[in-house]
C-alpha cells in the first residue's frame, strides 16, 4: 500500500516506484458470443494512483459501468472478458478464482453501483446489512461497536436521522437516502480503491458536495485512489485529478484533468465540454437574441425557429395546470414493521399554477417530496387533500375513464427509468403501444415509423426498438422513457429528473430537443431536477420544496435574488462550478 | 391334505388376517358382507352353525347356542333347546331370556330397545315371525306365519339373521352404541377397533366350546390387492382373502398356501330388464349360448375358477353340479339373434356396466360377443356409481352388469331372484318362477324342500333370466407356517382350529 507520509511524487516517479493502486490494461469485454458478439469495451487502459481521484466520463452507453464491474469480476452473466489485464496494488486479478477475488472485494476495492435503488437487500433492515459488512471486514467487533460504526457512517453520508434509518427497510427510504446508504456501505471498509459509478445523480447539490468530500476523505485516509464515473462536469472539476473520456467502448482521451479540460484534443471531448451548462448560461444567449440551446447542438445549428423571446406572448397565457392545496400522506409503520404507526405527510398543502407553454421547475433536497408531488399530478397517486386541475378538469374528482381519456394529454417521465420499463417487452413495442392505443398511429407500419422518429429524436438508432430494457445502458433507458412519453405528443410533460443519468452531450441533445418541441408544439413542462444550471437554463419559473411544503416560487431569472428562501440559498451555495 | 399340516396343534400365537373390505358395524343384527362375518363370527354365535370342518358339502347344520331343535308338522313353529353353559363375554349367562331380548330387539316395537335398523335388515327372514316365546330357561319357541323349513340354516348365516348379542350392552350403551362394545358368546372377545386399520380380538378364556389355539386374532383391513399380497409375502400377515388369480402362481412359487376349494359364491351377469331388447327371451338365450365359460375361466381367471351353469352356487344345499343352462353354441346364438330380427347391418348392441374391478372380464366378454355379431360398449364405473347404475338408475341401453353373491342356504335363490327385480325384472312376467319359489319357501315337507328349490332354479335357468359364469377356486392364501386352516364349502372359515407352527 502507498505510504501516506511520502512526499507527493511526480506521476512518472510513481509509475516506476510503487505499483499503481489499480491498473486496467487493454481490457476488452463482449456481450454474446460468436457472430452475435458485441464488443462494448475495447482496449481500455487506465491507471489509478494512490491519493488521486480519477474521473471516467463519456457518452452514455460507452462502457464505463461495464469497465468498472470487470474489476471485481462482477460482469453480468451474458458478458465476458475477452482479454486484458487488471492489477490491484500490482497483483494480477484478471481471471482469478472467485475465492481469490473475494479477498480483494470490499477490502481492497470497493464499489458503488450505478443503480442504488435495488442494491440493498429488501429483506433486511439497513442496520443489519451494515453490520454484516462491518463484521465481515472487522471480525473483531461486537454488536454495539458495529452499531456505532454504522451510525457514524450514516452520519458521514449526511443522513440526519441515522437511528431511524438503521431500523428501516430499504423500501422505506427515498432514492437519495438509499444511494447514501449504499455509499456508506461501500466506503466503511475504507478500501484502497473505491469505484463510484455515478454516486450522486439522485442527490441534491448540498448532499452531493458532502458525498464527494466524503469519498475523497475515504481514499485519502486509506491511502488509496478513487475512480469516479460521472456525467457531471461540476463533479469532475471538484474532485478529479485525472480524467479519461470514453466513447463507444474506447478511451478517446486521457490525462490530467486541467490539461484535458482546458485543451481537449479529441473532437468528442470538445463536443462534451461545449455541452456543459454553466450556471447563468442562458442569459447571454437571450441577450444576444440567440436561441436558448446548449453547447454543441447550437454549433450544429438546429434549424430551430426564431429566438425564444419571439414566442413569448404578450398577454398572460391561459392556465393549463392548477394545484390547489395538494397534500399527500403516507401511513408508515404498524404491526410487523417494528415502528409505531404514524402518518407522514410527503406533500403538504402545495398550490401553484402552470401556464400553457410554460416550463415550471421544481427543486428541493432529496426526499423533499418532488417525485411524490409529480406522481400526484400525473394521476398515479391519489392526493389525500386538495385539487389538481388539468385544463379545467379536476383530476382528483374525475372518473377513472375520464382521466384515462386525458392521459395522452399529460405524460410522465419517471425518475427511475429502468424499473418503469417492462422488462419483458421490446422497447419499441413499449413506445408503440400507447401510440396505437390513442390512435396516434393507425397501422403497424405507421406506428413503427413513429417509434423510429421518436427514437431518432432522443438520439437512439431505430434498431434499438428491438432491444429489451436490460440490453440498454442507464442513459439509454432514460431516453426510451422520454421517447415513450413524447410519442404521444402530450400538452403537459412531467419530467422527474429526466437527464440525471445522461452524459452532458446527450443531456444537451435532450434538453435542446425539449426546448425545440416546446416551441414547435407549445408544450408545457413540469421539470424536476437537482442540477440547478439545467433548471435555470430551461425553466421559466422555479418552485422550491422543503419537507413537502412549497417554500419558494420565483421566475428563473431571480434565482440569485436576495429574496430567496434560506432553503434555496443553501442549494445554490452547494453548486459545483465547472472550470 | 390341502393344509400341508402334519404336526400336532400348538396353542398360543397371534394370528393376523388381512381383509379386503372394511367390515361393517360389529353388531349381530346390523351386519352385512362376508368380511364382516369372518370377523364377527368369532364374537357372536347363532343358535345353529354350519360345519366348517370341510368334511361336508353342502355343509351340515350343527348345534351352536342351541343343542337341538324341532319343527311342528305345519312347519311354522320351531322349538329350540338352548345350551346352559354359555356365557357372554362380560360373564352374564346366555339363556332364553337373553335370546328373547335379541328377538324383541328386531321384532317387537314395544321393546324399549327395539331397533328399527336391525328390524329392517332382518325383515327378509323375520318379517313373517309372529312371536318368540320363552318356554323356560333353556327352551325357546319361534312361530312363523308360513312354513319355514329353511330356518335352522338361515340361523347359521351371516347377515339378515339372528346372531346373539349381549342385551346388557345395548341396554347400557343403546342400540347405536353396541358396535363400540361388541359382546357375544363367541370364542374370542373384542379388544379394539381402529376403523380403516385393524380389529383386535383375544381368546375368550371362558368359552363354552373347544378352546381355540390362537391367543389373539388381528384383522387388518387392506383393500389394495397388491398391498395385501405384499403384506402376506413379507410376513406382516398370516392370511389374506380375495386372492387375485394373477397372483396365485407367485404365491405358490414362494411356498405360500393357496388352498383350493369352492365357497358358496358365484359370479354372474345380470340382465337389465329395462332394456327392451333384453326383454326378448331369444336374445337372452343367445347371450348365454354365445358365452364360452370354459374359456372365460381359463383366460380371465387363469384357470383358478370353475365355470358355473346354475344360479345356485356350489356349496349351496340345493346345488346341482349336473345342472346346465344353454351350452356354448355360437351358431345357435346367431340363429336366435337372427330370429329376433338382428342382422349384420342392424346388430344387437348394448352396454356392459361394470365396476372397475371387472374390467378384464368385461373386455374379454366384449370380444366374445363380437364373435356372434353383438356390439357392446363397456361402461366402467367407480363402485358407488356402479351400484347406483346397476341397481336403480340403469339406462335403457344397458344390457349386462356384473355381480357376485351366493349362500349355502337354498333360500338364497329367492334372495338372488329378488335382487334381479332391482334390474327391472318384473316377477309378474315369470309367474311360474314366482310360484315355484313360493312353493319351495313355504313347503312344510322337509323331503320336498331341496327338490322344490332345485325345480325353481331350473325354471330360473330355463327362462334365461341370469347368466351364472364362474366360481373362484382360490380365494384365501396363507403363510407357510399356518396349520389347520380349512376352506369349507361356505363363505367363511373357522379359526378356532388354526395354529401357527414354529
Amino acid at each position: 500500500m502507498t505510504d501516506l507520509l511520502s512526499p507527493p511524487a511526480t506521476a512518472a516517479d510513481r509509475a516506476e516506484s510503487a505499483p499503481p493502486a489499480l491498473r486496467i490494461a487493454d481490457l476488452a469485454v463482449e456481450f454474446g458470443e460468436g457472430d452475435h458478439a458485441t464488443r462494448v469495451v475495447d482496449g481500455v487502459t487506465l491507471e489509478l494512483h494512490a491519493g488521486r481521484t480519477f474521473a471516467l466520463v463519456g457518452e452514455s452507453g460507452s462502457g464505463k459501468s461495464i469497465t468498472a464491474s470487470t474489476v471485481l469480476g462482477l460482469l453480468p452473466r451474458d458478458a465476458h472478458v475477452v482479454s486484458g489485464s487488471i492489477t490491484v496494488g500490482g497483483e494480477e486479478i484478471a481471471g482469478a478464482s472467485e475465492a481469490r477475488l473475494r479477498r480483494y472485494r470490499g477490502s481492497h476495492v470497493g464499489m458503488i453501483f450505478q443503480n442504488p435503488l435495488a442494491s440493498l437487500d429488501p429483506s433486511f433492515r439497513i442496520g443489519s446489512q451494515l453490520r454484516e459488512i462491518i463484521a465481515h471486514h472487522r471480525p473483531d467487533t461486537r454488536r454495539p461497536q458495529q452499531d456505532d460504526i454504522a451510525l457514524t457512517w450514516l452520519e458521514n453520508v449526511g443522513i440526519t436521522d441515522a437511528e431511524r434509518v438503521l431500523k428501516s427497510y430499504p423500501h422505506e427510504l427515498s432514492g437519495g437516502m438509499r444511494q447514501r446508504v449504499m455509499i456508506a456501505l461501500a466506503s466503511l471498509s475504507q478500501p484502497a480503491v473505491l469505484i463510484a459509478d455515478e454516486p450522486t445523480t439522485a442527490l441534491d447539490a448540498v448532499i452531493q458536495k458532502q458525498i464527494l468530500d466524503l469519498l475523497q476523505t475515504v481514499v485519502k485516509e486509506s491511502g488509496g485512489a478513487l475512480l469516479i464515473i460521472t456525467h457531471d462536469f461540476g463533479v469532475v472539476s471538484y474532485v478529479a485529478d485525472d480524467i479519461a473520456v470514453m466513447k463507444d467502448g474506447r478511451i478517446v482521451e486521457t490525462g490530467e484533468r486541467r490539461v484535458v479540460l482546458q485543451n481537449p484534443q479529441h473532437d468528442y471531448t470538445r463536443t462534451l465540454i461545449a455541452a456543459v451548462p454553466g450556471i447563468g448560461a442562458r442569459f447571454p444567449l437571450e441577450a444576444a437574441g440567440l436561441p436558448v440551446r446548449l453547447g454543441a447542438a447550437v454549433e450544429a445549428g438546429t434549424d430551430a425557429v426564431s429566438p425564444r423571446t419571439a414566442v413569448e406572448p404578450a398577454d398572460a397565457p391561459p392556465t393549463l395546470l392548477r394545484l390547489d392545496g395538494v397534500s399527500r400522506e403516507f401511513h408508515v409503520g404498524g404491526i410487523g414493521t417494528g415502528v409505531t404507526r404514524r402518518v407522514f405527510r410527503a406533500v403538504d398543502d402545495v398550490s401553484f399554477d402552470v401556464a400553457r407553454g410554460e416550463v415550471f421547475g421544481l427543486i428541493g433536497a432529496s426526499g423533499s417530496g418532488k417525485s411524490t408531488l409529480a406522481r400526484v399530478i400525473g394521476g398515479l397517486l391519489p392526493a389525500t387533500g386538495g385539487r389538481v386541475e388539468f385544463d379545467g378538469v379536476d383530476l382528483t374528482a374525475a372518473s377513472a375513464n375520464r382521466v384515462r381519456a386525458l392521459r395522452p394529454r399529460f405524460q410522465f417521465i419517471f425518475q427511475d427509468a429502468s424499473s418503469s420499463l417492462n422488462p419483458r417487452i421490446p422497447v419499441g413495442e413499449q413506445i408503440a403501444r400507447p401510440v396505437r392505443r390513442f390512435g396516434k398511429a393507425t397501422g403497424a407500419s405507421e406506428a413503427r415509423a413513429t417509434v423510429a422518429r421518436v427514437l431518432d429524436l432522443v438520439g437512439l438508432p431505430a434498431d434499438y426498438a428491438r432491444r429489451y430494457p436490460h440490453e440498454l445502458s442507464g442513459g439509454q433507458r432514460q431516453r426510451i422513457g422520454i421517447a415513450r412519453a413524447l410519442a404521444l405528443e402530450p400538452e403537459l410533460l412531467i419530467l422527474d429528473e429526466p437527464t440525471s443519468a445522461l452524459d452532458v452531450s446527450t443531456q444537451a441533445t435532450i434538453i435542446n430537443l425539449l426546448l425545440d418541441l416546446r416551441e414547435q408544439l407549445d408544450l408545457t413542462y413540469l421539470f424536476i431536477g437537482h442540477n440547478l444550471s439545467i433548471i435555470e437554463f430551461v425553466c421559466d419559473r422555479i418552485g422550491v420544496l422543503d419537507a413537502g411544503r412549497l417554500v419558494d416560487l420565483f421566475p428563473a431569472r431571480e434565482l440569485f435574488s436576495d429574496e430567496r428562501d434560506q432553503v434555496t440559498r443553501t442549494l445554490l451555495d452547494a453548486i459545483l462550478p465547472v472550470e | 391334505d390341502q393344509n400341508g399340516g402334519t404336526g400336532e396343534p400348538v396353542a398360543g400365537g397371534d394370528f393376523v388376517s388381512a381383509l379386503y373390505l372394511e367390515p361393517l358395524a360389529l353388531d349381530p343384527h346390523r351386519q352385512g358382507y362376508w368380511e364382516t362375518y369372518r370377523v364377527s363370527r368369532n364374537l357372536f354365535e347363532g343358535l345353529t352353525k354350519e360345519d366348517t370342518s370341510g368334511e361336508t358339502d353342502p355343509t351340515e347344520i350343527l348345534p351352536s347356542l342351541a343343542t337341538e331343535w324341532s319343527v311342528d308338522d305345519s312347519g311354522t313353529v320351531w322349538d329350540f333347546t338352548l345350551r346352559d353353559d354359555a356365557t357372554f363375554h362380560d360373564g352374564t349367562p346366555f339363556d332364553a331370556e337373553a335370546l328373547d331380548k335379541n328377538v324383541r330387539r328386531i321384532s317387537d316395537e314395544s321393546y324399549e330397545f327395539y331397533d328399527e335398523k336391525s328390524a329392517a335388515n332382518l325383515a327378509v327372514w323375520f318379517g313373517g315371525l309372529i312371536s318368540g316365546e320363552v318356554v323356560d330357561d333353556t327352551h325357546y319357541r319361534f312361530t312363523f306365519d308360513k312354513p319355514f323349513l329353511g330356518f335352522p340354516r338361515i340361523l347359521a348365516q351371516s347377515m339378515a339373521t339372528l346372531n346373539i348379542g349381549n342385551p346388557a350392552v345395548w341396554e347400557e350403551y343403546g342400540n347405536d352404541g353396541f358396535a363400540e362394545h361388541p359382546d357375544g358368546t363367541g370364542p374370542y372377545t373384542f379388544v379394539s377397533r381402529t376403523t380403516g386399520d385393524r380389529i383386535v380380538l383375544e381368546k375368550n378364556e371362558d368359552y363354552w366350546g373347544d378352546e381355540p389355539n390362537l391367543d389373539s386374532l388381528t384383522f387388518r383391513i387392506i383393500p389394495n390387492n397388491q398391498t395385501r399380497l405384499a403384506a402376506l409375502l413379507s410376513g406382516e400377515v398370516d392370511q389374506i382373502s380375495y386372492v387375485q388369480p394373477d397372483d396365485v402362481d407367485t404365491l405358490e412359487e414362494q411356498g405360500f398356501q393357496v388352498p383350493e376349494g369352492t365357497g358358496a359364491s358365484l359370479l354372474y351377469l345380470s340382465f337389465n330388464f329395462r332394456n327392451p331388447d333384453i326383454k326378448d327371451e331369444r336374445v337372452r338365450q343367445a347371450l348365454i349360448h354365445g358365452l364360452d365359460r370354459e374359456k372365460l375361466t381359463a383366460e380371465v381367471y387363469n384357470g383358478y375358477a370353475q365355470p358355473q351353469y346354475s344360479f345356485q352356487p356350489p356349496g349351496n344345499e340345493a346345488y346341482d353340479p349336473e345342472a346346465r343352462d344353454f351350452e356354448y353354441d355360437p351358431e345357435k346364438a346367431e340363429e336366435l339373434l337372427a330370429e329376433a330380427g338382428y342382422t349384420a347391418d342392424k346388430p344387437l348392441s348394448f352396454t356392459i356396466v361394470i365396476d372397475v374391478a371387472n374390467q378384464n372380464a368385461a373386455e374379454w366378454l366384449q370380444a366374445q360377443y363380437k364373435e356372434i355379431g353383438v356390439e357392446t360398449e363397456i361402461v366402467s364405473l367407480d363402485r358407488t356409481s356402479y351400484i347406483a347404475r346397476a341397481y336403480s338408475d340403469a339406462e335403457p341401453t344397458d344390457g349386462l352388469t356384473f355381480d357376485e353373491y351366493g349362500g349355502s342356504y337354498a333360500e338364497w335363490l329367492y334372495q338372488g331372484y329378488n335382487g334381479l327385480t332391482a334390474k327391472g325384472l318384473d316377477t309378474a312376467d315369470f309367474p311360474e318362477i314366482s310360484a315355484a319359489l313360493d312353493a319351495a319357501l313355504t313347503t312344510d315337507d322337509e323331503s320336498q324342500r331341496i327338490p322344490l328349490w332345485q325345480a325353481a332354479e331350473k325354471l330360473v335357468r330355463e327362462n334365461a333370466v341370469v347368466i351364472p359364469i364362474a366360481n373362484l377356486t382360490r380365494y384365501y392364501a396363507l403363510s407357510p407356517d399356518v396349520e389347520g386352516f380349512v376352506w369349507p364349502a361356505t363363505n367363511w372359515y373357522d379359526l378356532t382350529s388354526v395354529w401357527i407352527d414354529g
Binding site: G106, F113, I335 | D176, D197, P223, R383, D403
Partner: protein, 317 residues
Amino acid sequence: MGTLKHVLLRLVNLVPVLLIVSVLTFAIGHLTQGDPIEAQYARTHTPEQIEAIRVAYGLDLPLWEQYLRWLRSLFVEGGGLSIVQNQPVFAILWPNFLNTLILTAAGVVVCAVFGILIGTLAGTGHGRLIDRASMFIVQVGSNLSVYWFGLVLIWIFALQLQWLPVSGMYSRRGGGFGDLLLHLILPSISAALISMLVLARFTRIGIIQERQSDHFRTFRSQGIGPIRLYGRHVGRNILPPVVNIIGLEIGTLITGVVFVESVFNWPGIGTQVLNAVNGKDYPLIQGGVVLVALCYLVVNLATDVTVDVLNPRLKRT
C-alpha cells in the same frame, strides 16, 4: 389494514367458506345417484325392504332437513352416525385424521429437506452438471405415478431387500417410535415425491433469480462469501416463495394423500373417505370433507400470514 386485522378477517372468512364446502359436499353426495342402503342390500333385499331400511336411517326426509340435521350433528353428535359403521363420524375419523397428520408431517419434512436441498444444489450450480443432473431427477421423479412408485418401493425395499415394512403404521407386536419411523419411510417419500420436486424447482429458480439481483451483487462486491450470501441473503429472499410452496404442498398432501394411503395401507383419513365414497356413506364423507377442508384452510391461512409477515414490503391498503 394491519396484519392482525387481516388474520382476523381471514379467520372470519373461514366460516362461509366451510359452509359452502359443506353445502357442496352435501349436495354432491345427495344429488348424485345411489345410496348406501342400496349398495349394501340391493342383492339380497327387495325394493320394499330396502325402502324400509332407508326410512329407518332417515334418508327419506327432504334434503334440506337432512342437511340441517347433519349440520346440527356436527356440533352436538360428533358429525352424526356413519351409516355403514353405525358410529359417530368424528369418533371414527379422528384417529384416522391424526394418522394422516403424522404422514403429512413426515411428508412435509421429506419435502422440505430434500426439496430445498436438491433445489439449492441445482440453483447454486446453475448451468453445471449438478444442475442438469438434479433437474433430470426432478423431472423424472415428478412424472412417476405415486401408485406405481409406491408399489415399486414396496417391491424393492420390503419384499426384495426386506429392509422396511410393507404397510400400516405398526408391526405385529408393534408400537414404539422407531417402529413408526420405519413404517413412515416409504409412505412419506411417496407422499412427498411430487411436492418435493415442485419445491426443488422453485427453490432453484428463486436462487437463480436472486443471484442475478443487484443486492446479491452488492454483497458479493463486498467480498461476502458464498455461505453467507446464499445462507443469509438468498435464503431470506426466497423464503416467502418457499414457504408458500411448502404451505401449498401441505395442503395437497392433506387433501390428496389418499393414493399413498391406499398403497401403504396407511390408516388415514383419505382411505376412510375413499371407503365412505365406495359405500356412499354420506355422514362419513361429509364429516371427512369438512375435517380435511378445515385443516387445509387453516394451513392455507397460516401460510398466507407467514408469507405476509415475511414480506417487509407488504402494506395492505
